[in-house]
Symmetry: C2
Subunit: 417 residues, 2 copies
């Protein structure tokens, strides 16, 4: 028994963490990011770090393409196809073809247009099912869609969403990895169960893409929407993507029929005719600065296998959980310990979670707080190291031992996103 | 008679154009823009030129706020209120209060959510009226809204839109300045006529804001949506704004209920509760890079009176029309000569308009082509000079005299936006 404890202690040393980093096939990727000195950044599940490829690219788009090229850059710099170029870069991370992906609007807008399109595939069904612990905007948007289309919103049991899917359900809208707990649904199994009941599934991949493998084509998914400013590092407020299964594209009918979703936008004819394929999910003029930042950011994934990424992510969260178990009392690990049910973050429950997160930030360890009592730590496998994990827990121990989280400075809660 | 001709000829010399520039109260504003040497840029009604204030500001947001500040910049750099800051800068250009303006989504998405909100103010009426020569996306979006809400789309006579507004009409959606011809509606008169018939008016100000005075509060308008990448110089694909009349805000009910339109977004509660005022028009996480570019760009308007801007615009278009009349044959000036009906552009009809525009671009004069036969020239009064106008017509004369527009290189049409 003493021998086992000794072995465990060796596995939890900083030296061992550094050794794990040395052995990681992703070790060199951290150099692709411009992280401030002295910061352990465990908030890439909220806003991804800055890739070194981005600043010069954005400056070039501003000064050369916009400033010097002016309106001609729609052709000469191929802004017209920028969204499609980004889509092709995203596709391997989703297990899909680039032509089935569209990038351009905010996540909430993208959820709206996609949820309506999904509901219209089942016109005889009147219920949208949403999971109550989802990120709020998903539920808000679903309520808006239901009201607009004269449908009904039904909240399901988070433990078994498919159980709520009966003959009345048009759409099951689920977040793959929970933003608060980091718990992950079995995408394939839930999709299959909902299909058995005749519903269409809309997956929100905000907390998956870039950290957790998804194989949308392989599992026969219907629709997926995801954020690009978290694990994809596109920059604050960068636009969301939507993927539409090829088998649904002939019937695709989304409500926000803007000119970039037209079959021939530049003919400027009076009647709307949807573009073929997923392109009809496009709406307005693409946000060139944001898409350019995202395009450059995605270079950090070039040549990275999703399996490598997943292995690195699990190794980081495993180590974090082991260290928390070993070094800390009074914290509940809310995130599932089962690999199959874990995303790329770890959530700790503690009554003083807010103050703890603030005190940790003051020590250079950036996580975030989620109401009412969750301290949330994201592990972006491209730039978070095992040494970071070790150091973060050391600081967490110090915060608690010194009772820094009870400091009055942390009593006023500020918004976090 | 000879004397009059002599006087006219003097008024049309380059020296006179330079003198007009010297006398212009906006003369120094051109220095705020980074225009390439040798280019006469008459396409600011498609994509505004790069303000010198933008590149460093964008670089700062990328490197310092995102790169160094990371997720903390939502508070420390006040990204949370960035949209509101931009709204306050826009307000004087619209004759409104900043709190009644929201900025964030593409023009097409903004038209969609606003048109639905407008229609919901008249639930007993089932028709949306649109003008058939409007920019296509307005008609496409209106068709999408009508279909989604079970309403009917009705095309009106461009000569008298309000005549189409009867007791069945919920919304009249009009573009203030026509994208193709530059013709301008009387905003106050059309609004009043539609109100007399009980309808709500949604004005598309894409080709007005930043060049043509609009006094939305003063005329009792209902809703307005506009683009920020044309005369406002926000950058390619920068987000649109929406203004909601204060008297409609208590009943405001837009369909895309995202978390940034919630009364308390960061509480992350399950049920949607709209934010008070115009804020419920917000949807998703704001596009920080684009909004930062736009915020910096709007500094070019600081201290500029809308009357000054209008006077400069009319002086430029007057001179352009006079020079075209004097120097060119075979061109029809499609834009109204009446000041009260003219926006800030001049459209010339010519059967070879496409080739003419391309040949002009090759000579450094950037206008654009609109199908089927329009050569379009925009006069952004902050940076276009009377000398530019003179030089542009000289080049146009040279193109036609040398028949450069018949060059085979210009036969393949490329998209323009």
């Amino acid at each position: 028994m003493e021998h086992v404890t000794q072995q465990l202690n060796q596995l939890l040393t900083r030296d061992h963490a550094v050794e794990l980093d040395r052995q990681s096939p992703l070790a060199s990727r951290r150099e692709l990011f411009d992280l401030p000195d002295g910061v352990v950044y465990l908030c890439g599940n909220s806003l991804g770090a800055l890739p070194r490829s981005v600043p010069d690219r954005v400056a070039e788009v501003v000064r050369r393409e916009w400033g010097a090229g002016l309106v001609g850059s729609w052709n000469s710099a191929d802004w017209t196809n920028l969204s499609k170029r980004v889509a092709r870069r995203l596709a391997p991370l989703l297990g899909v073809q680039g032509e089935d992906v569209v990038v351009g609007d905010s996540t909430s807008v993208t959820l709206f247009k996609t949820m309506v399109a999904a509901a219209r595939l089942r016109p005889d069904r009147k219920v949208i099912v949403v999971e109550p612990t989802t990120f709020p905007t998903d539920g808000y948007v679903a309520a808006g869609v239901a009201r607009t289309l004269g449908m009904e919103l039904r909240w399901c049991d988070p433990a078994d969403p498919a159980a709520a899917v009966d003959d009345d359900v048009a759409v099951l809208a689920l977040t793959h990895v929970d933003f608060r707990t980091g718990a992950m649904f079995d995408l394939a199994a839930v999709t299959a169960a909902a299909h058995d009941a005749g519903a269409v599934v809309l997956w929100d991949l905000c907390h998956s893409t870039g950290a957790v493998p998804v194989e949308l084509d392989a599992v026969g998914a219907d629709f997926a929407v995801g954020c690009t400013y978290k694990y994809l590092n596109g920059g604050p407020g960068s636009p969301a993507f939507v993927w539409v299964a090829p088998r649904h594209q002939a019937q695709l009918d989304q409500p926000i029929t803007g000119w970039w979703g037209h079959a021939r936008p530049f003919d400027m004819v009076q009647e709307f005719e949807p573009a073929p394929g997923a392109t009809s999910m496009q709406v307005g003029t693409p946000p060139v600065l944001a898409l350019s930042s995202l395009e450059a950011a995605l270079e950090a994934f070039d040549g990275v296998g999703m399996d490598e990424l997943r292995a690195a992510s699990l190794s980081l969260t495993d180590l974090f959980i082991a260290l928390v178990d070993e070094r800390l009392a009074g914290f509940e690990v809310v995130t599932p310990r089962d690999h199959a049910r874990r995303g790329s973050q770890v959530a700790l429950r503690h009554p003083d979670a807010y103050g703890i997160v603030q005190a940790l930030i003051a020590r250079g360890v950036v996580g975030d707080f989620r109401s009412p009592d969750i301290a949330r730590f994201g592990f972006a496998p491209l730039y978070v190291t095992h040494a970071d994990v070790h150091d973060a827990v050391e600081q967490l121990v110090a915060v608690v031992e010194n009772e820094e989280h009870l400091d009055a400075a942390y009593s006023a809660r500020k918004p976090v996103t």
